[in-house]
Amino acid sequence: MSHQYTEMYEQLGMNVELHGQMIEAIHDSFERQVLSQQGRPEGMEHFDGLVEAAHGERVREILDHKKAGGSFIGTFCIYVPEEIAWALDVLPLPLCGGSGFSVPYAAGRFPRDICPLVKSTLGMAFSGCCPFGGIKDMAVGETTCDAKKKTWDVMAVWGVNMHVLEVPQKKNARTVDLWRAEVSEFRDRLEDISGKRLVAERLTEAVRLINRRRKALAELHSFRMEERPPISGTDVLVATQGSLIDDPARCCDRLEALNDELRQRVAQGVSPIPEGVLRIMLGGSPAVMGNWKLHHLIESAGAVVVCDETCTGTRYFAHLVPEIEGDLEAQLSAIADRYLQIDCACFSPNTERIENIVDLAGQFRVDGMIHYVLQYCHGYNIEAITVAEALKEAAVPSITLETDYSEEDNGQLRTRIEAFLEMMA
């Protein structure tokens, strides 16, 4: 199916045959877990296409962008202040792996007890299945968990041009200064690799563009506050995953069109979700492109995911950057301060997140919360206990599901999800 890109893959030095197998495996999951749903909005077509474009047309666009004088960086976290990159014609692309296919290829060269997201990402590089490895001008890491922190060091030894952002682990006046300095240094690094100077006008434009994307995503997610949501949680996830890798202006157009369609659906009472099904909030670890496992299991058990309290959900779009004009340093501080509001589990304490979850549970009228923990994601795993206690106070039941990208535990997960639903019914 992606023969049109074979030549490009060969030029990028990839393992074309293995990559073909990986794409097939991802498509097989996508068909079973996403395309098989009934009553999907028409506006999903663009986002479905992005699953294929991620390793096809999007790669070509990035190569064209570089040919036209732009730069390209790989990122692994929503803590990377992308506005600064866009304002310097540096295209940032999240490179986190969501497919179980590449996980075994990290074995042997990397310790076993590491989260599947890191292993999937590295496995993609080791197996010659990552189209972006050779074309990125820089990779941007951060300090949001131990596994990632140490991975950056290894990647640097292997010759990757790395830049690591120090995300603080506490929130106070001292760490605000630290983080502002980190953001400023990030600007310097991006100016180096792009050979351009950051100017206030371009930064304002970039802030407006990314705010527009965050607003469109926030609206998309908010449709699930409806008694009968006009879209499934699985589809909202697919659209969100796609938006994070798509060209921002194009994706805003498509998101806004999808939102128009959903607004119409609400007005006409059209919904793929049966009446009276249990409403679930999913929170914790991110579900990046290729990973639709838990949403599929929950929704095929007859519930609906109405809220994603994850980096591929509320955490990405929860706050906007103030649209300041003129003063570049003030803009950079405003950007830094916006990012420091993200309630990642790397913070101690992380009170904002606990309060936010209780708020979301009320806003989305959730019947129960499922803590989603990628295996070995210690931050979210342990924090689930604190969250569960707070939810108990608010009379919202919750369970924790720890899993990886494989499907071998689907039976046990299904039993737990169904039991949780039966318990609440």
Binding site: P397, D409, G411, Q412, T415, R416, A419, M423
Partner: protein
Amino acid sequence: MTASMTVGIDLGSRTTKIVVLADDAIRSAEVFDTKHDPLDGLSRHLDELPDVPTIVTGYGRHLLSERLGYQAITELSACARGAIHVRPDCRLVIDIGGQDAKVISVTEAGGFDDFVMNDRCAAGTGRFLEVMASALGYVLEEFGAEALSAGSAVRINSMCTVFAESEVVSLMTSGEDRRRIALGLHQATVERVAAMLPPGATDRGAVMFVGGVAKNPGVVELLRARLPAQPIIPEQPQIVSALGAALIAQSAGEERS
């Protein structure tokens, strides 16, 4: 045939249980090994069953539901309902089956308001004990009694079925008494399950121990010692979930009529 006759089928990973209920009385209860082809293994039994409301539960519930059109519920709902029928004062069930270990907080109405299950590995389940009995050369039925006959236990460090088997093999080759190893394995199993108990496990009411492993006197004895109150062990601990499924089929019937 009375109008209130129902069937509950619990298709577990190791054994299948079928209970036929007439009103509140058990008409028949069967326990047999689950075959590699569970449907084929069931067909002879299904032929003999009355054509009455039937609910399926257990690991194979979706298979039966998809192929034969029966309503499926999880083992947790079925077990809670069965337990409250056996003993209305029961508020906590420990269910250790072939590949799952569960602790269920049961409500007076026969539902449940909390539960804990082991994750994907077989640690602390019937499968763990089965593999270990075989590694030590015991038949499963004598394993628990043999363990209890040891004066003291060897501490088993690994709860992973694969690692524990290696540990057992190395202990045997070092000349260790196999009864002491057996006792250590039973202790490890009970510790694993005890870690799943909520705080104040016995405060809400009686505790019941069900599932195939409740037939193992070694686990029963050690669990007794571990709990502040004596656990109830039903006469047929394996059929509680099948019984619960049949009872839920009766309530469903009542709601319809």
